[in-house]
Symmetry: C2
Subunit: 433 residues, 2 copies
């Protein structure tokens, strides 16, 4: 038996705004940041759980304060009973009635809970000696269902529905694990498409994307329509008529504006339009999806929880689900999201990039392939080549595909040297260091 | 000219859980709390802007951290230019691209922005020497429209629509101001209905509500169906067949459960069912509204922003809009909500209670009467008799109605002695004090 003895938090920020990496129509100068949490125990194994909430700079301190508020729920608890019933562990935090007022189940407090849940999963997988995707892929359908909070979901998916989906994917799990280990999981790249890049850089990066084996690229759009047309034309010229090019408006538009703007880019046959409007506007997404068909609507990186995902599916407002590893209430809620997508027959193409999102979300996509959807057809994980050098077990890309991680855990652990070097509180108090 | 010189924050908590005041199906033991902000200037007038975010205990420190994160946007700014264009002042905070990632426009960060905006409004009204409701009631339709962020709203309401609504209510403003000063604004009371109270206390408080002149009471429901039936029967026996009794489930149910449970209480002719399910479930609210008609669905105290209110109206999921003074992005966003309600012909019956919510939201209801909807028909502000003694300008009730405030400002200022006495950080570090 062991006990949680510390919940350490760090405010970690990388000065990415200096190079315009990550610039888009709504986020002109992000500083990719992590509100980082480490759950430590008194076990002789020395293992700790690591996770974080991704932010883009200012306010990362608020996110750290939310992590700090969870400490009293965790320190002193017996590790084995928490890890042995991760459904209960998640509810312990999500259902705190006083903390719930700060959401409910959305925003800063919910993301902090998600990071704590993910850190517990990291610890559990490390103790099992397995990479997280493989650890999850070997859980029984019954245990997986026990992880999900079905409150507010049963008009779309019941525990029985979920069990049926998971049981249907039970056959072939081992074969799919072998396939993942041999072939990896498909990726697409956003690296060429940031708004802050010159036309020459865009063209060069498109060529490099093809050379690296990526089957799709994505362009940021939405700041200036003429610019978008010019940049899309450049990408098409470099990539050819049939190469999939997705586009991403980062919530820039209202409903009619989205329909009009996408219409103006329709000649370039975009693979999807991502975040055309507010992530809260379910009915708006549905109207846009009707208005831009056959272009598909993709969204999810800012979708606050499973309840909004449920409705986007019910309303026909989302043809591609883009889960994010650190936006919702952690792995448990993302399992609910994967099951909803499977129920509605919508492919999951996770959001990644930022700092550490590729490392984190690859595990969910691979688990989805093995144990939920059972297919990689039409599925890809976003990939951006930023900041991977700060991770203990960074993503490995091969021929445009994510190589299945083999190290134990969830891959969210940052190097101690990076945590020290980019510690924001130290940076502020001693800028000369 | 003057400058903002300080943004002071306080973590203030009242131990209300000890008496079970405020107990409901989802919040068994709230400690009513305020993340409190004071905006100070170097003006010789000595006036400061006061506001807060209401929370129910744990996590109030996180909410304070979010207020602290706004300090760098405010300190050093010229007061007159901020107060002279409150639309721009609101956008300065809401549109910060890095802070926006923490929502967007929802949860801890958005509520903090709302408090900062409300504190600026308090300061502006104090400088004008007017109570906030009256100050707003004398603004031109054009200035009022300039306060609203129409992003993500124009598929439901345009600036031109808003201008037409406000111009239509321009005639008669002074007459309605006189009527408010003479008669006040209707209230209903939730005091009898908390789940933690005995049947005897429920009956006694119902009798007292009628004696005090309240035209409606509200009962908490949703924890146990047999209890709800027994308690509703007691209330009906005390209050008579025709007295309006609303009920509030505080998000306890799923969609079908809500329809079934309300059906079991239909014999008591509830005035409305409030928060039957998750505030995020727009389509769920619409299904419930269809399923429980003619009982009306009321919601809003946890609705995160104008975008969700818009959809609840578009989908027919809300027949009574219950704005809250400290949930959304402040007065500016609540103006958007009032305009949406007017556009869709839905009455606004604000949520109040907690600590200071009655003080804060009465101004919005009175302004709505004077300058937006132009009517009190079917409108009431919730009233709960808790913790008013801590305010410099507490609400005054007369014959079941809110007396129109006359002191300058927005009435959110707490007494300095209360701020000191219930300061949480002091309480924790020195429990004997």
């Amino acid at each position: 038996m062991s006990t949680i003895v510390a919940v350490d938090t760090r405010d970690v920020r990388f000065p990415t705004s200096l190079s315009l990496d990550g610039s888009d129509a709504m986020n002109p100068d992000p500083d990719y940041s992590a509100a980082y949490v480490t759950i430590r125990t008194d076990s002789a194994d020395g293992l700790a759980g690591h996770a974080f909430v991704f932010t883009i700079g200012r306010g990362n301190d608020v996110q750290v304060a939310a992590l700090d508020a969870l400490r009293e729920h965790l320190v002193g608890r017996e590790v084995e009973s928490l890890l042995g019933d991760m459904g209960a562990a998640s509810r312990l935090l999500v259902h705190d009635s006083q903390l719930r007022w700060l959401g409910p189940e959305k925003g800063v407090m919910h993301m902090a809970i998600g990071a704590a849940v993910n850190a517990l999963w990291d610890l559990r997988a490390k103790r099992a000696g397995e990479p997280l995707w493989l650890h999850l892929s070997r859980l029984s359908p019954e245990e997986l269902v026990s992880l999900v909070d079905f409150r507010y979901l049963t008009d779309a998916i019941t525990p029985e529905d979920a069990l049926a989906i998971l049981r249907a994917a039970e056959a072939g799990r081992e074969e799919r694990i072998e396939r993942l280990l041999a072939q990896g999981y498909p990726a697409y790249t956003t690296t060429p498409g940031w708004l802050g890049y010159s036309d020459e850089k865009l063209a060069r990066l498109c060529r490099e994307a093809v050379a690296a084996g990526f089957p799709q690229v994505k362009l940021k759009v939405g700041a200036d329509r003429a610019d978008d047309i010019r940049r899309f034309r450049i990408a098409r010229e470099v990539l050819g008529a049939d190469y999939p090019i997705a586009m991403d408006a980062n919530q820039r538009w209202g409903v009619q504006e989205a329909i009009d703007w996408v219409g103006a880019l329709a000649e370039f046959h975009p693979a999807w339009i991502e975040e055309p409007t507010s992530p809260d506007d379910i009915l708006g997404h549905a109207a846009i999806a009707r208005g831009v068909s056959p272009v598909r609507v993709a969204t999810g990186e800012h979708v606050q929880n499973r309840i909004v995902f449920k409705q986007l599916l019910q309303a026909g407002g989302m043809q591609v689900m883009q889960i994010d590893a650190t936006r919702v209430g952690g792995l448990n809620e993302n399992l609910a999201n994967l099951l909803l997508a499977a129920k509605f027959g919508v492919p999951v193409c996770p959001h990644a990039g930022g700092v550490g999102l590729c490392e984190a979300v690859q595990h969910l996509a691979m688990f989805d392939f093995v144990a939920v959807s059972g297919t990689m057809e039409g599925r890809m994980v976003e990939y951006v080549d930023h900041l991977h050098e700060h991770f203990v077990d960074p993503v490995v890309m091969r021929d445009g595909r994510y190589v299945a991680p083999s190290a134990p855990g969830g891959s969210m652990e940052m190097k101690a040297s990076s945590l020290d070097e980019y510690d924001w509180s130290r940076t502020r108090t001693d800028p000369s260091a």
